[in-house]
Symmetry: C2
Subunit: 763 residues, 2 copies
C-alpha cells in the first residue's frame, strides 16, 4: 500500500499550483461543449425579431423541407408536457419558449432539431414568425413610469425568503422595490451645510465567457440527466424537478469545468429547454449557443443612480438619499435579489446616520439582465465613489482625507443597522494611498498629455440565506476525495477547497481529489456566485474534513493508537479493517445566521455573514487631443481575510479589475429599437493586452475574517469595485472633466474636454 | 416543491418491481460494452498456444504491416512503466502480459492496438511467437505430486489476513494448504462400526455471463479512469493503485450494470492491462473479449474430493476425513481463499466430533480458476451429500432419517469449533422432505423408464474479514440517493438496497435513487461476491439510513418539530434552510466481528457472521435405453433469514439451481494437451429451456437472521448447493447406479447402467 504520509500544517496560505493545470494545458479537461451522446439531436433556436409583440403565426412549412430535420418545437408542444413552463430564480416569469407574445429581440420562439447542426441552423432561418408589434420600453427610468408595461402579470417565485413582501405591483414594470430608511434624512438635509446631487448611469454589458452557454439533456422518461455549463447545478436540479413535477433525485445535473461564468451561467438558462426537448423527442438533445447568441441571453444590468448627500461644515456626510433604477430587461432572472442585496449598501462604506434608499428592479424590452461579477455593486460603487470625489473636489478637501472622515469602521452600524465587523475599508484605502504615494507630489503633466490619479473604495455584503454542504471521503491509504458542488469555472476553487481539506487532515493538497458538481453525487450547494464559495462552501468543507478527522480519531482510539502518534491514516484502516479496506465519510453543512431586513425600512441586526472590500488606485494619462486614456498604474487592494492560495487570490483580483476595466472603457451593447447592433466580438470590444494598465499590482490585506475558514473570505468580485470611479476621478484630476456615464470611451473624453473648453463637437 | 410523502413501514418484505426494469426492457441501461471514448483504441490479444513453455521470440513484423495498427505491446513495454507487473487478489502471480514464459494455453502474450477492432484482430493473428515447450500438468491430484512445477516462485499477496501462514511451499504447486483438525479422528475411526470412503470429482466449467469480460481505461498520466464490468470496483482501484504506485484516489473505477458476473468479474481481470495500455499510448484503450476468450480467462475449480466417514452402530457419524484437491489452473486468483473458506465446511452440515480436513489450492497448466457462485461449496456438497446417500443406502437407513440423526443444529459446534446459530439446515431438509411427500409411497416406474428421488443439503459460511460502507443523501424534498458499491449484475441488489433505505426512512422505495459503483463516488465495498451484499452491504446501508434518520431527527428538534409528527422531510429542510436547500448525509460502515482460524488446526470461535443453507429435492425419470434423465420436479429450499424482496429472492434461488443444473448435467470444458477444444457456445452446452425441470419450486424458509438487516441474509448461492448430489442420488434411487464425477451426461448414465448390468460399452 502506498500510504499518504502525514505533513505538518501549512497547506493553507501556500500557492499550490492549480490541481487542474496540467489537464488544462494539455487539453484533457472535460467541458460540456465536448459532450456527444448516442443519437443526440442538436437544437437551433428561432429568435424573436421584435422587442415586444404578439405572435400571430408561426409557419414551419419551408423549414420542415430542409433534409434531416427531426422536429420543430414551439411552446404548443412544451405545454403538452409541462403545463406551467415558466422558470426563473426570483420570478417564474420566463417561458421555455415564447407563449403568445415576445418581450425582447432574441427571445427564443421555436427550436429546430436535427442530427446535423448545420441543417438545424438552415431550417431555423426558414421558420417564418408573424408578429403584431406592440410599443416597447427600453430605458429603466422610463420603465418606472409604466407607460408601456412589459408583463401583464407578475409571478414572484417565492424562492428567496428575503424577497418576500418586496415584490412589485401588477400592471407596472416594478418587479421589486427595496426601501431602506435609517434616521431622518429630511431633517438632516435641512441641517446640512452643503447638499450635492448627481446622477450616474451604466450601460448593458456582457459576461462573455469564452465558453458560451451550452446544455445537453438525456432522459428515459423516469430520470433526466442534464450536462450543463452551469454555476448552480443544485438550483438547476430543483428547478427542473419543479417544472416536471418530479422528485429532485430523478433529475441529475452534471457540470464539468466551465470556461468562465461570471454570473451568466447561474440559475437556469438552456437547461429547461433541453430537458423539454429530450422528453418530447425521446432523444438526447444539446444546445450550444454561438458567441452572438450570448447577446440574446443575459446582460449585466444597466442602471441609473441618483445620489444626493448632505454634508456638515466639518466635511462629514450626515444625510444620503439613493435612488437606483435597475434595467432588468425582459425577465427578472436574479435581478430582484440584486436589487435588494446591493440595495442596502447603495450609500457606500460610509458612516452616515440618515439614509434613504429606493432600489427598483424594472422590466424593459431588452435582453434579460442577471448577476455579473459583483451582484450590482460595481454599478453602485461607480456612482457613490464618483459622487464622493465630486463632493471632495467641491469642498476642496483631499479625496482620501474626505473618505477618512466618513469611512465606516468596525463597531459602527451600517445603513441596515447591522454593526460592522472585519470590514477593512479603511485599511484598503490607506494601503492604496500608501502604494500610490498619495502624500508625495504628483506630476500632472503638461501640454497635450495630462496626468491624474484617484482612489475609490467599494464594499459588498455576502449573500444570505444560503446553504452549502460538503462531503470528504478518506480512502484506506489516506488519500481523500472531496465532494463539493462548487463549480470551478477558472477561479481555482478546486485547489483552494483541496487545501482546506489538506490543512485539516494534515495531508498534502495534491493527495486530495475534488469531484465535480454532479447532483447525484455532490451534496447541495446554492451556487458558485457572489464570492460565496471560499467562505460558505469553505466552511462546509472544513466542517466535513473535521468530521472525517473526528471519525479518524475515534478509529485511532478504537484500534488503540494514542492521540498525536502521527501514524499514517492508512495504518488505522489496516488495524481496523484487517485489509486495505473501508472509507471514512465526513460531512459538513453551513448556513450562516441571518436576520432578513424589515420589509418596511430595510433594517436588520444581521445583514450578512461577512463584508467584502476592495479599493483601486489609478494613475493615468489623458491625451487631450484624442481623448485617449493610458492607464499607467493600477493598484487593486482587497481585504480577503486570509489568502488560502495567494497566487490564485492575486489572479482573482487581477481578473476582476481587468474585467471591470473593459466595462469602464470599451464595452457596451448598442441597441436600435431593442435590437443589439454589435452582437459580435468584432464590434463589441473587450480589453486586449494593449488596453491593460502598464503596471498593475494586486495587493491582499493581511487580515482575518473572524468567522471564515482559517480566516478567509470571498475575493472574486472585490477587484471590480473601485475601478470605474477611480478612472473617472483620475480623468477629472487630469483634465478637469467629469464623466457620469459608462463606458468612458476616448470619444466621450474628447467631447467632454471640448465641451469644457466651450468648443463642443457636433454630433 | 414536490415533497416525498411519508409512508408506513412495509418496504422490506414487499416484491417491489426492480427499479431498473423499465430501463432494461427499453434498452436504455448503460453497459461497459457500449462505451466509446474519444480517440479510443481497441486491443486484441495474442494468446499462448502452448500450455507450458518459454517464450523464445516474438515476431511482430508481419502484424505491424496491417494498415491501421497503432502499436503492439508486449511485457517488455509493460515493464518500462510497471516494474513489478504481477497482479491477483491472493497471490501477485499473474503478469499483465506473459513475461518470459507461458503457463497455460490462452495466456495473453501481446496486445495489438488499433482504432479498428478488425485490423487489430487480423494483426493479432499475424504475430508469431516461438515457444520452447515444457512438460505440463493438468490434473489436480497429479499436480500435488510436484513432478511438474508451474511456478518457480510463490508470491502470496498478503491481502487477506486469514490466509497468512497458510500459503504453500516453494518448488511445489501448492499455493495454499488449509488444515483443520477437530477431535481425534484416528481414534474415532478405530472405534467406528462402519467406515466408508469415496472419491468424487468435478470438472472445469465456466461463468459465461452473456456480457463477456470488458474494460476500458483513460488517463491523463495523473489520474486513471477505468470503466469495467467488474464485481469489485474497490478492489480494482486498490490493485491498479498498487501496480502504478499511485494513491487510491488517483484511480477511478466505474462499473455500470453488469450483464451477469457469477464470480468471474471479481478482483482484477482486464483492468491492469487496459490501464497499462492507456498509459503507454496516451489514448483511451478498450478490450472486449469474445465468448471464446471467456474460456481462456477464468473457470470454476475442477476438484477431487476424497471423503471418509466412520459411523457408529446407531448410524451416527463419529469421524470424517476430508481431502480436497482444487485445480486452480495457472494463476491463483482467489483460489487460495476458496480453499480456506470452503475448506472448513468440507465435512458438511453434520454434527461430527472428530474431523480432519486437508484442502489444497493447486497450480496446474490450465485456464486459471476462480470463484463461481458458491466459492467452492457446490463442489463440496456434491461430494459430501453423495457420500451421505451412499452411507445411508449401505446402512439401509432412509437418507432423510440418516441426515436427521446427524444434522448440525443451532447451539452445537461446527468443525471449526464455532457454535452454530440461525443455521437452518434441519428446517430446510424437513421442508424439502415435506414438499416431496417423502413419507408417502413413491412410484419408481417400470420398464425402460425408471423414477427416483433424493434430497441433499448444503451449507456455506459467509466471508470475513470484509468491509462495506454506504452513504445515504437526503435531498431537500425528501428524496434519497444511496451510494453503494454493490454492483447490480442482474441479482436485483439496487432494488433490495433501496428497500432497506426506504424502510428506515419511511419513504417509498421508488423515491430512493441508487448510484452505481464509481470509486470516486461510492464508498468502499469489498465486492459483490459470496452472497455477502444483502447482509454486509445491507447492514452498512441500514446504518447509513439510520444515521440520516438520526440527523433528520436532530434537524426536527432544531426547528421545533416534535418527534412522531410525521411531517414530510422536505418541511424540515424548509424550516432550517429557509429555502429548498441542503442535503443530509448519512453514512454507515460494517465489518463483522471475526476470529481467524488457528493456522495449525483451523479452529476458531467465530468463523463467520452467518451461515447460508440450501436444500434441493428432485424427482426424476431415467430412460434406461438412452441414459436420458428427465427432471420432473425440483424443489429448492433456502433459509434466507427474511426476504427483503420475495420475488427477487425466488428468482435468485431459481437462477442458482438452473446454473448448477447445467454444471451437473451438460457443462464441461474439454481439454486436449491443455487446449480447450469446445470453446464456443455451440460446443459447450448450457441448459436451454427444454433442459429445465418440468416443475420447479423455490421456497424460502420464514426465519430471521439475528444479526442481519431486518433479519435478512444472503441467498445468491444457496440454490446451487443441493442440486448435483440430489440428481446423482435420485438416479441411483431410480436405476441403482452411482456416478461420482460431473457432469452426469446421458452417455455416462447409459454406460453406468450397462456396466452395472455387466455389459459395459466399449469406449
Amino acid at each position: 500500500m502506498n500510504q499518504i504520509t502525514p505533513v505538518p500544517s501549512g497547506q493553507v496560505g501556500r500557492s499550490v499550483p492549480r490541481l487542474e493545470a496540467t489537464g488544462k494545458v494539455t487539453g484533457r479537461i472535460e467541458y460540456t461543449h465536448n459532450i456527444r451522446l448516442p443519437g443526440m439531436l442538436t437544437a437551433k433556436l428561432v429568435r424573436s425579431t421584435v422587442a415586444h409583440g404578439r405572435i400571430k403565426s408561426i409557419d414551419l412549412s419551408e423549414a420542415l423541407k430542409v433534409p434531416g430535420i427531426d422536429r420543430i418545437v414551439t411552446s404548443e408542444d412544451i405545454l403538452k408536457i409541462i403545463p406551467v413552463p415558466y422558470y426563473g430564480p426570483a420570478f417564474h416569469d420566463q417561458p421555455i419558449l415564447a407563449i403568445g407574445k415576445v418581450v425582447y429581440v432574441g427571445e427564443p420562439v421555436a427550436a429546430v432539431l436535427a442530427r446535423d447542426p448545420h441543417a438545424a441552423e438552415e431550417a431555423a432561418r426558414l421558420v417564418v414568425v408573424e408578429y403584431e408589434e406592440l410599443p416597447a420600453v427600453f430605458d429603466e427610468v422610463e420603465a418606472r413610469k409604466n407607460k408601456v408595461v412589459v408583463h401583464d402579470q407578475l409571478k414572484p417565485a417565492g424562492t428567496f425568503p428575503d424577497l418576500k413582501h418586496l415584490h412589485g405591483v401588477r400592471d407596472t414594470n416594478v418587479a421589486l422595490d427595496f426601501q431602506l430608511v435609517r434616521g431622518d434624512t429630511k431633517k438632516a438635509f435641512a441641517e446640512a451645510a452643503h447638499v450635492f446631487e448627481h446622477t450616474f448611469k451604466t450601460q448593458q454589458v456582457l459576461h462573455l465567457p469564452l465558453e458560451p452557454y451550452v446544455s445537453a439533456a438525456e432522459t428515459d422518461g423516469k430520470t433526466m440527466t442534464i450536462h450543463t455549463a452551469s454555476q448552480s447545478p443544485s438550483f438547476v436540479r430543483l428547478e427542473i424537478a419543479r417544472l416536471l413535477g418530479w422528485a429532485e433525485n430523478r433529475v441529475r445535473v452534471k457540470a464539468p469545468f466551465l470556461g468562465g461564468g461570471f454570473g451568466g451561467k447561474l440559475y437556469i438558462k438552456l437547461e429547461a429547454l433541453v430537458a423539454a426537448l429530450a422528453l418530447l423527442t425521446g432523444r438526447p438533445v444539446k444546445i450550444s449557443l454561438t458567441m452572438e447568441e450570448q447577446f440574446y441571453t443575459l446582460t449585466k444590468h444597466a442602471s441609473t443612480f441618483r445620489i444626493k448627500s448632505g454634508v456638515n461644515k466639518d466635511g462629514k456626510v450626515i444625510a444620503r438619499e439613493c435612488e437606483v433604477w435597475w434595467n432588468g430587461g425582459a425577465y427578472a432572472d436574479i435581478g430582484p435579489r440584486i436589487t435588494q442585496k446591493s440595495g442596502f449598501t447603495a450609500a457606500g462604506p460610509y458612516d452616515i446616520d440618515n439614509v434613504t434608499i429606493d432600489s427598483y428592479a424594472l422590466y424593459t424590452n431588452l435582453t434579460p439582465a442577471g448577476a455579473l461579477r459583483g451582484f450590482g455593486i460595481p454599478q453602485l460603487v461607480w456612482a457613490y465613489e464618483s459622487h464622493t470625489d465630486l463632493i471632495a473636489r467641491a469642498l476642496k478637501i483631499d479625496p482620501v482625507e474626505f473618505r477618512r472622515k466618513n469611512l465606516l469602521r468596525d463597531g459602527r452600524p451600517q445603513a441596515t443597522g447591522t454593526i460592522v465587523k472585519d470590514m477593512g475599508a479603511e485599511v484598503c484605502l490607506e494601503r492604496a494611498a500608501e502604494l500610490l504615494n498619495w502624500n508625495k507630489p504628483f506630476d500632472r503633466g503638461q501640454g497635450k498629455l495630462r496626468r491624474g490619479r484617484a482612489i475609490a473604495v467599494g464594499f459588498k455584503a455576502s449573500i444570505s440565506p444560503t446553504t452549502s454542504v460538503a462531503v470528504v471521503n478518506v480512502a484506506a491509504d489516506g488519500s481523500c476525495t472531496l465532494f463539493c458542488g462548487t463549480v470551478d469555472m477558472g477561479q481555482g476553487s478546486d485547489t483552494a477547497m483541496a487545501q482546506l481539506v489538506a490543512e485539516v487532515l494534515n495531508i498534502p493538497t495534491e493527495s486530495v481529489r475534488v469531484v465535480h458538481s454532479d447532483t447525484d453525487v455532490t451534496p447541495y450547494d446554492m451556487g458558485t456566485l457572489g464570492s460565496r464559495s471560499t467562505f460558505h462552501m469553505g466552511l462546509a468543507v472544513k466542517l466535513a474534513a473535521e468530521d472525517a478527522k473526528n471519525k479518524l480519531a475515534a478509529l485511532a482510539a478504537e484500534v488503540g493508537v494514542p492521540p498525536g502518534s502521527n501514524l499514517p491514516i492508512g495504518e488505522l484502516f489496516l488495524r481496523k479493517y484487517k485489509m486495505q479496506a473501508g472509507t471514512i465519510v465526513g460531512s459538513g453543512s453551513y448556513i450562516p445566521s441571518y436576520t432578513p431586513p424589515d420589509h418596511a425600512n430595510g433594517q436588520t441586526d444581521n445583514a450578512t455573514p461577512f463584508w467584502m472590500v476592495g479599493a483601486t488606485g489609478v494613475e493615468l494619462e489623458v491625451d487631450t487631443e484624442t481623448g485617449h486614456v493610458r492607464i499607467e498604474r493600477m493598484i487593486n487592494v482587497a481585504d480577503v481575510g486570509r489568502s488560502i492560495n495567494p497566487r490564485i487570490v492575486e489572479s482573482q483580483l487581477s481578473g476582476a479589475a481587468i474585467m471591470q476595466l473593459g466595462f469602464t472603457t470599451t464595452e457596451k451593447m448598442d441597441f436600435e429599437a431593442g435590437q443589439v447592433t454589435n452582437a459580435s466580438l468584432a464590434d463589441y470590444k473587450i480589453p486586449g493586452i494593449l488596453d491593460l494598465p502598464e503596471i498593475m499590482s494586486n495587493v491582499v490585506i493581511d487580515a482575518s475574517q473572524h468567522n471564515g475558514p482559517f480566516g478567509a473570505k470571498g475575493v472574486g468580485e472585490s477587484g471590480t469595485f473601485g475601478v470605474s470611479p477611480a478612472i473617472a476621478s483620475a480623468i477629472e484630476d487630469a483634465v478637469g472633466v467629469r464623466l457620469t456615464s459608462l463606458p468612458i470611451t476616448p470619444e466621450k473624453v474628447y467631447r467632454a474636454i471640448r465641451a469644457a473648453n466651450n468648443d463642443p463637437l457636433e454630433d
